[in-house]
Every structure is written in structure tokens, then in C-alpha cells.
């Protein structure tokens, strides 16, 4: 065989081999032929889905995102060896972590990669780190995107969403349960107007590429009446902000004559919100009762569990979930790996309840809601379950895992992370 033919053959093979791979890729739901864990990492999934554990015991995970090169970044609620972000890389192609590195000086919740930067939401600020293709850990100091948020004990996380136009929408939670004169104190009335709505309990918009912004100097007050939104995302298809709000707690504890323990366990709804510029939502004057499908005046403002008339006009949610389940992350599925019915629908991580006590706790699962256009096209359903590893969860610390953050790989797999120990699952569709 002469040299030229040999070279041509080599060239041909070089061209054909990747093509064969690419073709295989598009024909199979599980493009990288990942082999799942025998027990799917301890979680249960719908038929045809499998999971593997990417990494475990990383620390108390919050939100998570994946870079184009497959590197995974997860924010931590507690510093681990003094660091608040963990970076995970798979070098062998089996989907499981081979390199784990920690960096960042702050603990926090918000985590999203946008335009080559890793954005991180701490307690009073948003930072960004420049990512480089081959460097798992950013080697430059972070830049300060926004600061100057109020210091607060309750609901201080600063998760955020980023839109296509380069805006970042930051959650500023209410510093209380129900804007009572004395926080979480029985018999204390609600303040009207609630002064906490001025700089908190809403969404503030900033530029994603402008440094050293402050809430008071640069923030645009985008929406109000939102008690706390750990789960928020921008839907690129219909160009809207979506939030799943944490509803208020302790209806029975503060109003035992008005609400039974059973009603307290179920009420109020965790509200799924479609947020427009200038939206006004329920907190603190009302709560949404998903059993009666109506907005109800809060007892701190003269409500009796039935009254609907109140001091301001507010928008209804697009869906109400059972009380206290703690929706902590949301993702609209834009991949093509999962079956048709999942496309453009919403996956929501429910962290699991604490305020259903003394009744058994609920949640601790990932739910799915089908969508058509801007609105849900069907009821919610449980997608991934058994994170807690228990039949009955009577207190949240008993749960082995609590689903906390969700993100999508470019191949359409989902990553779900946990806040108890710091486990990351990769969920993929294998077909029948």
C-alpha cells in the first residue's frame, strides 16, 4: 500500500469515526452510553429513566450549574474547609467525578453560568468568576456584580435568574414570616403598609455585565409581594421570569382557634408565579389557598380563613402546591433527550417540609409540570422520589438527602443535587 493511499485512508477514518459517533448520539436517548448505578443512586424514577451518582459528600449543596465543557459547579450553604463553591470534573467519560476542587470565600445559594462567567449569589451580594476552558478552578479574583442588600437573618439567600438580554433578577427575601410587628410572635398583628416591602420581599433587576452595582443605586424593583423565592428562572422560550414562592408558616401555631394542625400542614400553597414587570403578589397581606382555589386574607390582617377582601390587589399564582414543601429550584426542560411530553415543561426541586409537624413531613422529591406556552397544561406529578430514603419523614434531619438544585447538561441529562450530604445525581433517559 503506498503512502498516499494509507494517508487518505487515515483521513477517511478520522472523518468517518466521529460521524459514526455523532449518528449514534442522535439515535439514542442516552448519548454517552452512560451506565447507571444499579440502584439509580437510591432514587426512584419513571420507567425508562436511570441515574448515576456523579459525586457524594461534597458539603451542603445549594444551586448547581454545568459549563459547556461538562464541569459542574455547586454553591454550598456552609463553608467546606473554608470554601463556598465546589467544582467537579469527569475526566474518564463515565459521568462520575474524577477531580473535585473547592474555591470561593463565601457560602451561598445562587449559581449560574452565563457568557463564560460563573455567577454566585451570597447572602448580601452577587459575585462572578471568569471561567476558562481548561481550568476547573477560576484563577482570577471574583468581580462584585451587586452588593448593598440589607443584612437579615431570615430568608437572606440571594439566588437569581439571568435573561437573554443580559439582565439579572435577584431575589431579596422578606426578613420575617408574615410582617408581624414582632417577628414570629403569637398575637402580634401585621404591619400595614408592610415596611419590609420597600427593599425586600421582591425581585430587583440589575445588569449582568456591570460591576459594583448596589441595590439602592442601580436596582430596578421588578416585582413585589414575594415572601422568598429560592426557585427562580428565566424562561428563554417565552421570555418570562418564573418563581416558586415559599408561602408563610405557622398558621396553627399563631391562630390555633382558626386553623387545625391538619389545615396548618396543608396551607398555604407554595405559589408558582409567572412574573411580569411590575407584578404584585400576595405576601404579606394574603396567602393562596390551593384547596379552595382562592386568595385569602392573612389572619395578621384581619383574615378568618375565608375572607378574601383586603387592602391591595394582587395576582393569583399559575399553580398552587401543598404547603411547606419548600420549592428550592426550577428548570424549564429545553433538551431533546427526554420524551416529547417533558419538552419545555418545568422541573421543580422540593427540598421537603419542616412546618407540617407534628404531622409527617412531605416533599423531598423533584416534580414535573407540563407546559403549553406561558402556562401549565396539566397537573403536577412526582418525577424523581425517595431522596429521603424513608417511608415516613417525621423531621427533616432524618432525611438522608433533600433535593435542592437542578441543572441540565447540554446532552439533555438532568443534574440534581442534595443539601444534606452533597450528593449529585445525573438523570438520563434510556428508553424502554
Amino acid at each position: 500500500m503506498n503512502r498516499r493511499i494509507h494517508n487518505n485512508l487515515k483521513l477517511l477514518l478520522t472523518l468517518v469515526l466521529p460521524l459514526t459517533f455523532l449518528t449514534c448520539n442522535t439515535q439514542d436517548g442516552n448519548p454517552r452510553r452512560l451506565s447507571p448505578d444499579a440502584d439509580n443512586g437510591g432514587i426512584s424514577l419513571p420507567e425508562g429513566f436511570s441515574a448515576l451518582v456523579v459525586a457524594d459528600n461534597l458539603g451542603r449543596g445549594r444551586h448547581i450549574d454545568v459549563y459547556d465543557n461538562g464541569d459542574i459547579y455547586m454553591a454550598l450553604r456552609r463553608l467546606n474547609n473554608g470554601k463556598g463553591i465546589v467544582a467537579v470534573r469527569d475526566t474518564s467519560g463515565d459521568g462520575r467525578a474524577d477531580i473535585i476542587r473547592y474555591f470561593g470565600d463565601f457560602a451561598g445559594t445562587g449559581m449560574e453560568i452565563h457568557d463564560g462567567y460563573l455567577y454566585f449569589g451570597g447572602d448580601t451580594m452577587v459575585l462572578r468568576y471568569k471561567l476558562k476552558e481548561n481550568e476547573l478552578v477560576p484563577d482570577e479574583e471574583p468581580e462584585l456584580v451587586v452588593s448593598g442588600f440589607p443584612e437579615q437573618n431570615q430568608h437572606r439567600d440571594k439566588p437569581f435568574a439571568i435573561d437573554k438580554a443580559g439582565n439579572i433578577y435577584v431575589n431579596v427575601g422578606a426578613p420575617s414570616n408574615a410582617c408581624m410587628e414582632q417577628t414570629r410572635t403569637m398575637g402580634s398583628p401585621g404591619m400595614y403598609p408592610c415596611p419590609q416591602l420597600e427593599r425586600q420581599a421582591g425581585i430587583w433587576r440589575f445588569r449582568v455585565d456591570k460591576m459594583n452595582q448596589t441595590q439602592e443605586g442601580n436596582g430596578y424593583h421588578y416585582a413585589t409581594g414575594i415572601r422568598n423565592s429560592i426557585a427562580l428562572t428565566w424562561n428563554d422560550l417565552n421570555d418570562n421570569l418564573y418563581i416558586v414562592m415559599h408561602g408563610r408558616d405557622q398558621l396553627h401555631q399563631f391562630y390555633p382557634d382558626m386553623y387545625t394542625q391538619e389545615e396548618n400542614a396543608e396551607l398555604p400553597a407554595e405559589e408558582f408565579l409567572l412574573v411580569k414587570d411590575g407584578s404584585v403578589f400576595s405576601w404579606p397581606y394574603y396567602y393562596y389557598d390551593h384547596l379552595k382555589n382562592k386568595m385569602v386574607l392573612a389572619p395578621e390582617y384581619g383574615g378568618d380563613g375565608e375572607k378574601t377582601e383586603g387592602p391591595v390587589e394582587v395576582e393569583d399564582p399559575i399553580m398552587g402546591f401543598p404547603g411547606h414543601l419548600a420549592p428550592n429550584d426550577i428548570l424549564f426542560y429545553t433538551g431533546d433527550q427526554f420524551q416529547e411530553r417533558y419538552r419545555n415543561g418545568a422541573f421543580i426541586c422540593f427540598h421537603g417540609s419542616w412546618n407540617r409537624a407534628p404531622l409527617e413531613q412531605e416533599g423531598y422529591f423533584v416534580a414535573f409540570i407540563p407546559f403549553k406556552g406561558e402556562l401549565p397544561s396539566g397537573d403536577w406529578e412526582i418525577f424523581a422520589d425517595d431522596f429521603a430514603g424513608l417511608e415516613v419523614v417525621s423531621s427533616p434531619s432524618q432525611a438522608e438527602h433533600r433535593p435542592m438544585g437542578i441543572s441540565m447538561d447540554k446532552d439533555g441529562s438532568l443534574y440534581v443535587c442534595d443539601s444534606q450530604k452533597g450528593k449529585i445525581w445525573r438523570i438520563f433517559y434510556e428508553g424502554k
Partner: protein, 152 residues
């Protein structure tokens, strides 16, 4: 004389009984440890039941039925130094509440516990403390309602 003697014996007996009664109400008199132990044994059933009711009504929602708290939000009351070690600071914690960062069993918590001084009376607080000190793996001295009153 015999009658006088009888009166004298009765008088002495009465005096002793009243002395005893006085000792019962005064913690500082010697012999009070035994008294206190007997009193505790007698009322144990009582404070365990009453203290648990208080716990279930005002504490359980955050600290949970098994005392394990809520991860990253509310600290556990299991095997807790806050409960077992210092009576006065525990009473003040319950009366006045607590906010800001605290470290419990190596984990930092930064939430709010509302004051209970307007929610619970002295006896409810002492029952609660005695219940806690005999539950969830905690230890500690028996506390009387009067000790709560002094710090209120």
C-alpha cells in the same frame, strides 16, 4: 404535772412539724437535697407530661418531634449544652428568645427564636426545662418555677 407534760410533748411535736414545713419551702436549709429529690420523684410524672405539652405547643414546630431541629435553620435540642449546662442562661434564652448566629454542635445557625415571656408562665417554663432535661439525651438540675420568676 402529767397533763402539763403531755401538753409539753404536743407543743414540741407541733413545733417540729412547723419547722419541717419551713424546711420544705426553704432551699438553703441543710437536708433540702433529699427533700428536693423526693419532691422531684413525686412530681416527675407531672412535669414530664406538662412539659411535653408545652414543648409540643410552642417548640416542636421548629425543633421537631424528635428534637433534631431543621438543618441550616433551627438547631437541635438533642444532647445540647444550651439545655444541660447553665440553668440561668437557659431560662433567659426561653424568656427573651434568641437571634443572630449561634453554633450548636459544630453547625452555625442564624435564625430567630421569638421571646416566650408573654407566651409561657413561670411554671410552664420550669416544666418545659425539666422535660427537656429528661428528654432527647439531655441532663441537668431540676428547676422550680421560682427560679424562672427571679429572672423574669
Amino acid at each position: 404535772m402529767k397533763v402539763n407534760n403531755l401538753f409539753y410533748v404536743i407543743f414540741l411535736f407541733v413545733l417540729l412539724v412547723s419547722c419541717n414545713n419551713q424546711a420544705n419551702t426553704d432551699d438553703k436549709k441543710p437536708g433540702n437535697e433529699k427533700e428536693k429529690a423526693e419532691e422531684i420523684a413525686g412530681s416527675e410524672q407531672d412535669f414530664m407530661e406538662k412539659g411535653e405539652k408545652v414543648y409540643n405547643r410552642v417548640c416542636l414546630v421548629c425543633h421537631q418531634s424528635d428534637g433534631s431541629g431543621v438543618p441550616m435553620m433551627y438547631p437541635p435540642v438533642i444532647e445540647s449544652d444550651y439545655i444541660s449546662v447553665n440553668t440561668d442562661s437557659l431560662i433567659v434564652l426561653i424568656l427573651e428568645g434568641l437571634s443572630g448566629p449561634v453554633v450548636v454542635k459544630g453547625e452555625e445557625y442564624n435564625s430567630i427564636m421569638p421571646p416566650m415571656k408573654d407566651v409561657l408562665d413561670n411554671e410552664e417554663i420550669s416544666d418545659l426545662i425539666n422535660y427537656l432535661r429528661n428528654s432527647f439525651g439531655n441532663t441537668g438540675d431540676y428547676v422550680k418555677a421560682g427560679e424562672v420568676a427571679k429572672l423574669r
